[in-house]
Amino acid sequence: MTGYQVIPTFCGMCGPSAGCGIYAYVKDGKFVRIEGMKESPLNRGRNCAKAHAAPQWVCSPDRLRYPMRRVGKKGEGRFERITWDQALDTIAHKLKEQKKKFGPESLAILSPARRSYSDYLYRFLMAHGSPNYCHSGICAMQNSFSFAYTLGATFPAPLPDYENSQLILIWGKQPVYSGASKGSTRLLVEAKERGAKIIAIKPTLEPDAALADIWVPIRPGTDAALALAMLNVTVNESLFDTDFVTHWCYGFEELREHIQQYTPAWAEPITGVSADQIREVTRLYATTKCAAIDAGNGLEHARSASDTARSIAILIAITGHFDRPGGNIMPVGSTMPAPKDVHLRERYTQEWVDKLVAPEFPKPFQPFVEGTSSAYFRAFESIITEKPYPVRTIVAPGTQPTVSTRGSKRVVEALQKLDFFVVIDVMRTAEMAYADVVVPVATPYETDHPFEFTPNWIMARNKVIEPLGEYKSMYEFWLDLGVRMGYGDDFWNGSMDACMNEQLAPLGITIDELRAHPTGIVYPMKPMVYEKYAQTFSRRSPLLSKSPFLPQSKVAIYNTTFEEHGFRPLPGWHEPPESPTGTPELLKTYPLIFSDFHTSKVYNASWLRNVPYLRKILPFPTIQMHPDTAKERGVKEGDWVIVESPHGSMKVKAEINTGIRPDTVMSLHGWWQECHELGLPSYPILDGGANTNNMYSVDLDKAFDPLVTAMSSQTLVEVRKA
């Protein structure tokens, strides 16, 4: 092991921040391998498969090398090399011109998920004058919205207290594959070893959740019906915490009356879960003193997403499991002062909110915790429909609209019509051929910023290798563009160090001083305090009025805020756009339920298929089928099959095991990319490829949750041998 340079830094293979701590090994200027950083309180020296494959990702032949401008027709994929000055000038010129002609809101920036650069995107939009930060409508904020307006708890609260729990309901979540080394694995296996019971509520039993003691194999998209029936059992069997309900809940009697219709017998044909099992799971949860619900991202992809999260929030509350040991808690954080964010939130006005092209949450609920947001897919719709006005420029920083959101056909149609499209990425993206300008950015291993932090750990990022191409970092790009647009005062006149020093001011250190701590600074956690009800239930919202989330300073079972704005005061039930109970007439042609998952052990959404060590583990797009379902169709393991829904089709390989409902088939989302090293091809983005997004309805009336925009990812399909 001689001749290596060892550099402490963060892993950059997933997000949102912060990454796990790593030591990067460099030999002769080449990034060779990583080793876990034991000093990091986040990953404690452990890393996942993705982290170890980082050098292959950084050195991929797919890396963009220099800025480019499109010379062929849209979609043709012909580009010419340009300089950074030309790229920045072209973008700045276009944005200035459109701002003058159509108003600043004609610009939309996509951000499917929270990233360490999200607040820089917001800052640019703020300086420019557009509220159109476009969030996916399917990730984290959908659940968080319902929890906030029911319990006063915002992401990541109400956190399942794995360490003290005796019963954990893993609901619509892959607990391990989303952040294997960030503690979720350790917490799960330690809970199991301690004797905690694990219940997995989900249509498929991935290997991680297969550690569960009880599996509740629910039909995709029907979690709200299950949660409502669990409320029914809790209330009718008097399994609730009378004292908590009396003191801290608003509208319990209205709930009692409202949920009479949602009996376990009502939920059974919808959810595919037997009434007996619904009762059993509810009784276990309600009567176990230390019981937590780990509600995942899978619940946010349904037309009844907000009903699910609200029902779960109410369930946590009335069973007395909120902010108590082993339940769902409000974390207290550490003694570390929070770094200043660069968002410029103080500039929000009502006029700003009114300009949103496709509000992700209804306007009376904007801004929410991340800021103002438009829904990603519906911003594309505005280009086609020109309602309420067409977005003219879309910037896609590290996101791939044709594979990241539903309705790929509509997205391609919109990209054809869009005036100006900028792709910022490290690699070729699925829809790069439509870009007017392509901006190549450095990987996190080729830059020394930004610093990253968790609630109790902050560390400077160090550069592992010199950039392998003509790159700027994502951060430098926005600072430089800001300066070129004439917003230099808001962008530290292009100085990243000045930018980081401003953020670090609350900690009383500079970036150079932070860098002097190679493994960062760890702060002690504050001692846990439970039952912080008075404080939590009077938390103020991020709305301009700063009005509290909960007007009665109690759990909003009956939600007067929602009622006031024309939404259901109590959670209810919406069928998915297509389902056995909602559209039984379709079953003859399409007898199986289809849905997809977004997380896998080796990929992040639509990334990383080009990394050979990872691709070797999951080489082909597949559809998971029960052995009986496969047999009825003469399908064998590894056969290529055609999957057809009323909206589209895919060609994938059959993956057969018993860990899935026989009436359901599921695929992994995000397939399109080739792997050159292994000679594995790319797949078409539209029908006949392996893109799950083509399979679903994007009907604006049927496919979206009216409150939180969640896009449904359920439909009916038939599967046949290719």
Partner: protein, 171 residues
């Protein structure tokens, strides 16, 4: 007799099949694509809905009496007396695959050069007092490493912990 036999310990109850061990191994040894010195194999059990899935992480076990060593016609496979690590001499190996036919774990691997390669227990790392890459990275701490004596003592300690934690022993 080996002075102090090194080995792996694996707890299938902890494995979540994340494949971190597998890729950490490939990365540290810079293995060519398709060659894996360590592999995670998942097994589904039980009819729907009483289903479990367990994973096993497998690599060379550095056996006490290695069958591969016994059958190698070139004497290319040797067990080191000081620590029991089973090593293959690439100079001597001529790629006959006989070792693969007798190994119960499928550990011997063959790359483009046709010669046998396999886990060397990250000799270079353990000489520095570190753990093998697969063990160091395992997020579930399902893989452990040490001398057989150490591993057996650790297992006994874990068992004792469990027994004393079960409530009916009184306080």
């Amino acid at each position: 007799m080996v002075a102090s036999q090194y080995g792996f310990d694996f707890d299938p109850k902890r494995c979540v099949q994340c494949h971190a061990c597998e890729v950490a191994c490939q990365a540290i040894h810079q293995l060519e694509y398709g060659v894996g010195w360590r592999k995670v194999v998942g097994v589904w059990k039980g009819p729907f809905p009483n289903v479990t899935s367990r994973g096993v992480s497998l690599a060379c076990m550095h056996c006490g009496n290695p069958p591969c060593e016994a059958v190698c016609p070139r004497g290319a496979i040797k067990k080191r007396p000081e620590d029991g690590i089973v090593l293959v001499d690439q100079e001597k190996c001529f790629g006959c695959h006989l070792c693969l036919t007798v190994c119960p774990f499928g550990a011997p691997q063959f790359g483009n050069d046709g010669k046998m390669q396999k886990c060397d227990l990250c000799m270079d790392l353990i000489m520095q007092g570190k753990e093998p890459a697969c063990v160091a990275t395992c997020p579930a701490e399902a893989l452990r490493f040490g001398t057989l004596q150490e591993l057996s003592e650790q297992a006994a300690r874990r068992c004792a912990q469990k027994v004393t934690e079960s409530s009916d022993l009184g306080s």
